[in-house]
Symmetry: C2
Subunit: 193 residues, 2 copies
């Protein structure tokens, strides 16, 4: 006997990552208990984020300007290549990396038909002017390893140094969830490919 | 260097119950990764739920009609009194209770100035015609116990049987999170006050 629009709200919350029925129900009731103005703020934060936040045409991170600030101010001799924009935030938290980033928005997966043209590899290749090192920080899973090897194969012939985050990150996990110390160690121990 | 509108979205997700910075950030990125139409559906589910869902003037549960369906079809000889509408769903899950409910929308808290007039006690007293038993299912914490004792004191002089959910629910916890078996036991073992 749950009202239909409440059931729909619960279903929408279940689309968020790792949210099951119990958590989604809890969030939905929390929304019903909010004041109308709090609920409007919540809704407008979502709408505004979707409207204002774009993909930086250079690095692929989220930005609310045109080219993102980091692409303009960072040390342009090194590029750190990640799978998704959220991985950039994880590496930023270490606080010691000052170079450029490049988010691929995906990883190679031939079973799903995701090849080199479906992720931002061409865009990466066009940014290598003046770059002395490319750090490959894709996830240490099958897709991430394959992507790193593929990119290393493209870049090494150009003479640019190609490194990979050091082991220290457990295989099969995701960069987004590594703690700062593990991730910092992986960055300082990076190995040439 | 997180875009302002992304930071705001993260802050809004942190207002949901038990959501910290890491979880809120994860939800915000998930929203950015959604298609525009999925994000619109999410937003309209919130807006629609806030617009359509009202409080049933009889039992205080959420409903998208006028008087809720349960108030019209339930066994009217017994009322189960709970703190919040979400507690009704927890008891409904047992699957064996067929009576009316009454959500107080709060519990007595004299330090916070919440007295008998600030929760739906008057509304409960006006629903006792034909009722043979009032089951007090407020939370087993200080406020819930105080509220149950206060209501028992009002109703017992009328000769109506007043019961309280049996112990079995750990003290200091919340009814919303009890598993169906514990809650079912507490319902069948309810004790007269």
């Amino acid at each position: 006997m749950i009202p239909e629009s409440l059931a729909k709200l619960i279903a929408e919350f279940r689309k968020l990552p790792a949210v099951g029925l119990k958590t989604a129900t809890r969030y939905a009731y929390a929304v019903l208990e909010m004041s109308d103005s709090d609920a409007e703020e919540f809704v407008s934060a979502i709408t505004e984020a979707k409207e204002k936040i774009k993909i930086c045409p250079l690095c692929g991170d989220y930005t609310d300007g045109e080219v993102c600030e980091r692409c303009m101010t960072a040390d342009k001799s090194v590029i750190c290549v990640v799978g998704e924009p959220k991985d950039i935030q994880a590496i930023e938290k270490i606080g010691t990396y000052n170079g450029l980033y490049h988010a691929l928005h995906g990883s190679l997966d031939f079973r799903k038909g995701i090849g080199a043209d479906n992720i931002r590899i061409k865009e990466l290749m066009s940014r290598l002017d003046g770059v002395k090192e490319v750090i490959l920080a894709t996830n240490p899973d099958i897709g991430g390893e394959m992507t790193a090897n593929y990119i290393a194969g493209l870049i090494k012939p150009t003479g640019i140094k190609v490194t990979r985050l050091a082991h220290g990150i457990p295989m099969g996990s995701e960069i987004e969830y590594a703690d700062e110390m593990t991730l910092g160690k992986a960055l300082s121990d990076r190995k040439e490919m």
